[in-house]
Symmetry: C2
Subunit: 387 residues, 2 copies
């Protein structure tokens, strides 16, 4: 199971659109491969497999269909890990089943209906010595670290992650259904904005998350659908030291995915204009802009430069490679080394991979904590909520 | 006085830095010229004149210095109009003196300590048939209209106008002194953001300002100095139809002057990265960016184009040309045609220039109304305030 030299065998739970992208990434990752796809519809599972594997010289995964397909996959022995892109409401049930059946889990975001629920999932993962990771791709690409480290003493992150849903989206998509993903745009898009904010203000040191880094949140403007699910929200997250993340997430706005970092220690502003779904290409870019006021009220100049970061492995491939490596080390080390859930060490181990595994889980948990607080702010009509 | 064919004679009241820029613009505007400069310090007035006029083949203006210099300029007959860049606290007194002495006034922003005070100034101007205009430059450049009209059905304007003040700025600048410009960054920088928001959401039709366009404001995050003057503020202005202006204005942040318009009627986002102090050059730019999500969670592409707008006359020259033209028409028409202050017609007249004069005054007044509400929001600890 995930031993070095052996590919991690991944089972796909449900044929969501996002699963296709991940399925391709798994196949491209060298360290893992899809061995089984389950759907409640037998036809859907087979269509999914034939679509993804048509052009590949690989053995196709097996298809599981019907009412019991998910359980069959989870309790079976044809995979070591499972990818769960189900609606958030179903996460608790299937993550528990997967973990207790000895499967590692890569879970789509938003990970849970509440941080409490996610803490329980992580505890279960810890008990079983199985890794539970969220499916946020951008954190796995090296551009993210370069971006974050490019501005010293960051004090403001501004994020806009928005798109214009079509009629069908508002009618049928799980993201706007109270009974599926009740956090709407906060859960679907705000997730990334918050995650980036946490990474920036902690300077990628997850220990900072447990030192009062996050203070308050406020949703200052929002629009809900008739089910009470947020479709549009302007949010602030206050960090210690008077630092702030401001973001706009929306299903009813032109498509944007722009993130900027400002800092007192830098004359430059760093910006990603493709922060979440990067443009295709051999390199990903970071824009650094310096605006200078030569004389107040008079002359200003602007200087820009671009940092290019290798994109040989696109972010979803990076994610699956990292996941596979971490799974291998969690399997290897967490059996013999103590966990310390109180201090967010769900998997004991001294390797970099296991440390990274715990750090990712911490970021994921604290992202969920912030989302909970944002939803609470909406419930309170836009009030400030302490975290 | 401002008749066609004759240059408008402008007197400068005080030798603020911003006065130099305006002085040069007046000289470059062909329709007007500086005839007198007054300062409480005789030396300062003479230094100012020798600095600005050293390289020009023009007759230098006369210098007035000493305690009574301002009054001497205002009651004298060597100018038809006066430019007042004094601290906001002094506006009421000197604007009244100027107008009652028969001078047209171009007044630096923020125009007044309150909208009430500004209404009184405008009434006085109306009574005397003299034009009172604020010194906001960007509204006079044709790029602004092109920018605003480039996005159909705008529903969001985002503005960031910030700079990093130096130690001396925080110690001595009027912008951070309660007794001079108590609105701090809200008055100094927010002024422009609000003005732009009003122009965008009214689609440059000032009549919209009197139809419930502006609804509420909220300062969601702010930092005050020890005198209670805002140094940094995140503000929202809510417009009818669920439209919003969000802006960040700050004296303690890297220099930015970026404004974007988003709309439901356009796939493009329009952005000015030099919205307030344009870069030098033959053309000013408007960036239009279209981000497209080809397949959700999958492929996105970005397309950009740039609109170039002629910059033969820089914005401050445009402003003084416009001011001179409007003054001429106000002089000509407002004597015989009725004002209607209730409906924000301070100067009667049927020419485009007089209509434009009234429209500019309306935008200026409603900008001040919004600033008042923002200051009230701060006084209430960041509460929403109805406008």
């Amino acid at each position: 199971m995930g031993d070095s030299g052996k590919k991690l065998r991944v089972g796909i739970l449900g044929c969501a659109n996002i699963a296709k992208k991940n399925c391709r990434a798994i196949q491209a990752s060298a360290l893992c491969g899809v061995t089984v796809v389950a759907s409640r519809s037998d036809q859907k599972a087979r269509d999914f497999i034939s679509e993804i594997f048509e052009d590949q010289n690989q053995s196709s995964p097996s298809a599981l269909g019907g009412e019991g397909a998910y359980d069959e996959l989870l309790t079976g022995t044809v995979c070591d890990a499972t990818y769960i892109p189900l609606p958030t409401k179903l996460h608790e049930e299937y993550v528990a089943k997967a973990l207790s059946s000895g499967k590692h889990v890569l879970l789509e975001k938003p990970v849970a209906q509440s941080a409490l629920s996610y803490r329980e999932m992580l505890s279960t993962a810890s008990q079983h010595g199985k890794f539970l990771m969220d499916g946020t791709m951008f954190v796995h690409h090296s551009r993210t670290e370069e971006f974050i480290k490019s501005i010293r003493n960051p004090n403001r992150v501004r994020f806009s992650f928005t798109f214009n849903g079509c009629n069908n989206f508002f009618k049928n998509n799980v993201r706007v259904k109270k009974d599926a993903d009740f956090m709407g745009c906060i859960g679907d898009l705000g997730w990334y904005c918050v995650r980036m904010g946490l990474l920036v203000f902690s300077q990628m040191d997850s220990a900072e998350l447990r030192k009062g880094l996050i203070q308050e949140v406020q949703v200052v403007k929002y629009q809900l659908n008739e089910e009470g699910v947020p479709l549009d929200a302007d949010c602030l997250v206050y960090f210690s030291g008077n630092r702030v993340l401001t973001f706009h997430c929306s299903f009813i706005h032109p498509f944007t995915q722009t993130c900027s970092i400002y800092g007192t220690g830098s004359e430059y502003t760093a910006t990603l204009s493709d922060a979440i779904l990067p443009y295709k290409g051999d390199y990903l870019s970071i824009s650094l802009t310096k605006n200078e006021l030569i004389q107040y009220d008079e002359i200003c100049v602007s200087e820009s430069k671009v940092i290019e970061v290798d994109n040989t492995d696109v972010q979803e491939v990076c994610m699956w490679k990292n996941f596979s490596k971490m799974v291998a080390k969690v399997d290897e080390e967490s059996k013999s080394q103590e966990s310390d859930i109180e201090n967010e060490v769900w998997w004991g181990g001294s390797s970099d991979e296991v440390k990274k595994a715990n750090a990712i889980a911490s970021y994921s948990l604290h992202t969920q904590i912030v989302l909970d607080a944002l939803m609470e702010s909406i419930r309170l009509g836009g009030a400030k909520v302490k975290v």
